[in-house]
């Protein structure tokens, strides 16, 4: 399925705005206790056991990966104009985006300890 450029750009703008929102919530949650305390091992693991927080982290990961890698695709598109280059960078950025999302999701799942907060 090929998306039109206007559809891709709509996704780009929406993910950008949504990322601003979720990152703001993420930063606020870091500040509900002294910053250094919030990064202590127990607190970090506790965060990963909190399901709403997990959803927030996963959405930050997905939104920023989509927005960032599409931004990279746009920058690279302007460097050279040939079908092979365009197709190459499209495939490359999609693959890189999926790899980052998969790796990040794996980290979240491991840190959660597969219990998803229901232990």
């Amino acid at each position: 399925m090929m998306l039109r450029e206007s559809q891709i750009m709509k996704i780009h703008y929406i993910t950008g705005i949504a990322a601003l929102f979720v990152v703001a919530v993420h930063i606020m949650m870091r500040l509900i206790m002294p910053y250094s305390l919030s990064l202590e091992y127990e607190n970090v693991i506790a965060n990963y056991h909190n399901v709403p927080y997990l959803v927030l982290l996963e959405s930050i990961l997905v939104l920023i990966a989509i927005h960032g890698f599409n931004g990279l695709r746009i920058i690279l598109l302007e460097l050279r104009q040939s079908k092979a280059w365009e197709d190459g960078i499209t495939i490359l950025t999609i693959a890189a985006m999926m790899a980052v999302v998969a790796y990040g999701t794996r980290t979240i799942i491991i840190a959660n300890g597969f219990g998803l907060g229901f232990e």
């Binding site: 450029e5 206007s6 750009m9 709509k10 703008y13 598109l77 302007e78 460097l79 104009q81 365009e86």
Partner: protein, 285 residues
């Protein structure tokens, strides 16, 4: 509405004129530093300096023509109307894309005027550049009214399009474009992406898109909705600041994008010519 817009433009122009005169420097001569190159003939790029006499009203084009007539007839320049109408004499004057016939020497700073060919265009010779790609982008956006309901074949049925002053206002400023290419030359995206249509073609796409006589809306959007199309505009706005005709191509691009993103609806009512003709005939009977 149209009169108000025209009044506003006139008062802005008067203000600008006043400011210009305030900045004028009266000199009796200037040195033209002219970019010279002819790769095909093996002439490497260099600058020639020529001193020319000037008066308060001397334009850069006048000065160049003086140099060409009395000092060096081989200087390559393109021009025609000498009154900012044909769009042929675009060049970089002191680093900024301008029309040579619309730039007075007295409004420039310093006693040396550097003239170079427009950036973002393939170079031909001296100050002359190749507009083929620029015109092909313009051609690609189909810059003409398309309306399959228009009865242009049957002479007896020929009817006019109705357009209110409000409808006209929506595209009027964009129709002042003289295709001089200054905006194309100033555009940072064109500098890196040769497939990008450029501000001129994109603003013309909007000009016909918003024209209520045109009903090829979908087709027009499909043309610019491309990997190298309208979305590659970075909104630097340099196109609008160099346009000598007061067109605001950056505005046209953003308005068209707004329509494509669904922020603004295309509310134009396409004139149904057949229907109007029928009504006219009924009224006559």
């Amino acid at each position: 509405m149209t009169e108000q817009v025209i009044e506003k433009i006139e008062s802005m122009e008067k203000k600008r004129e006043k400011e210009k005169h305030g900045k004028e420097t009266i000199r009796s001569s200037v040195v033209l530093k002219i970019y010279r190159a002819n790769k095909r003939a093996g002439e490497q790029p260099h600058y020639d300096s020529v001193e020319v006499p000037v008066q308060r009203w001397t334009t850069v084009l006048d000065a160049l023509l003086h140099a060409k007539q009395y000092k060096d007839p081989s200087i390559g320049i393109r021009y025609s109307c000498r009154m900012a109408s044909c769009g042929s004499c675009g060049m970089k004057i002191n680093g900024i894309p301008r029309l040579a016939c619309y730039t007075k020497v007295s409004e420039l700073e310093g006693s040396t005027v550097t003239v170079e060919p427009l950036a973002n265009f393939p170079h031909i010779r001296d100050l002359v550049t190749d507009f083929a790609q620029f015109f092909s982008h313009h051609h690609d956006v189909k810059p003409f009214v398309q309306n399959e309901n228009a009865d242009i074949k049957d002479k007896n049925k020929l009817s006019e399009f109705m357009q209110s002053p409000e409808d006209l206002d929506k595209f009027l400023q964009f129709s002042y474009c003289i295709k001089c290419g200054l905006c194309y030359s100033a555009c940072p995206t064109v500098a890196t992406d040769t497939k990008f249509p450029g501000p001129q073609a994109l603003s013309q796409a909007y000009r016909y898109f918003i024209d209520n006589r045109d009903n090829a809306t979908k087709d027009r959007i499909n043309i610019v909705d491309d990997k190298h199309g309208i979305w590659r505009c970075h909104f630097a706005g340099s196109c609008s600041s160099v346009c000598p005709k007061g067109v605001d191509p950056a505005l046209g691009i953003q308005l068209l994008r707004g329509h494509m993103l669904g922020f603004s609806k295309n509310e134009k009512k396409i004139a149904d010519l057949q229907d109007r003709l029928r009504k006219d005939e009924e009224a006559k009977q």
